[in-house]
Amino acid sequence: MKLTEFIKKYNLYGSIFTTWNWAENHRLVLEVDLSNLNQLGYIESDPDFRNVIIIFNNCYIIDTSGQGFDGFFKGDGRVIADELLNDNSLKILFMHDLYDGKSENLVSIIINSSDVMIIDK
């Protein structure tokens, strides 16, 4: 699906990126604890999160915070804001936590992608 459709269907706010993987052919594969609390249609009996995998195809990212961010191997990322910039560009702000005794670090990126798949178990 296109990013526009993805953003209408899923709200990333409050979700947690738990793993970040670059796959072949410029595919970005994210394992995500999707925040049910922030989805349309959430009901009180839903669990707070559900595990999903999001795959951005033909993807490259721009680190707008200038830290040279290209992914992470440790910790996780808590999404605090997202904004669709155009049909192929999604800006995401998340707090990267390494659990090393320090505070979270803000990461600001633009994900450019032709289309996105979501595996919603």
Partner: protein, 167 residues
């Protein structure tokens, strides 16, 4: 005990013995009464007749008898206006880019308490549409205990109890 031991021979001795036994009995009762009174007076000096005192979570006579919470148990509340934290001695540690999104961060240099304010965005679902706070666990080990609920208990990052409504 001595009166009981000498009772049989005195009874056997006839009337003079009976008189002696009666005198001995009166003296024994008198001595016992004095001993009991002394013991009672001693107990009054060392033990209080009041009910046992309260040692934990005691009603406070100064606040109308309401239960007093010990430090750390009082539910934590953050203000509707995040600027109020600055007056309470907190430092602002916001990232400018996050602040543009209505997300501000504060830390109390004295207590170490660290919290993040999220301004609700009208029309957004769930907590994104409501003002709320998150409070961080200084002893976090992972996403499962990264935040604190209103009672200071470790809870999962972004979990329902990690969302604190402003007071």
């Amino acid at each position: 005990m001595a009166a009981i031991a000498v009772a049989p021979p005195l009874i056997a001795a006839g009337p003079p013995g009976w008189v002696a036994l009666a005198v001995l009995g009166v003296v024994t009762v008198g001595i016992s009464a004095i001993a009991i009174m002394n013991a009672s007076n001693e107990a009054d000096d060392t033990l209080s007749d009041e009910k046992p005192g309260c040692t934990q979570n005691c009603p406070n006579k100064d606040n109308g008898g309401k239960k007093t919470e010990s430090k750390g148990e009082k539910p934590k509340e953050y203000p509707k206006n995040p600027d109020d934290l600055l007056e309470d001695g907190y430092d602002e540690t916001s990232y400018p880019e996050a602040e543009k999104q209505g997300i501000r961060r504060f830390k109390n240099p004295k207590t170490g308490d660290e919290a993040e304010f999220h301004k609700g965005k009208p029309g957004k679902p769930g907590w994104e549409g409501k003002d709320h706070w998150h409070r961080f666990n200084p002893n976090k080990t992972g996403k499962g205990d990264a935040m604190l609920d209103k009672n200071g208990q470790a809870v999962g990052k972004g979990s329902k109890p990690s969302h604190l409504e402003p007071r």
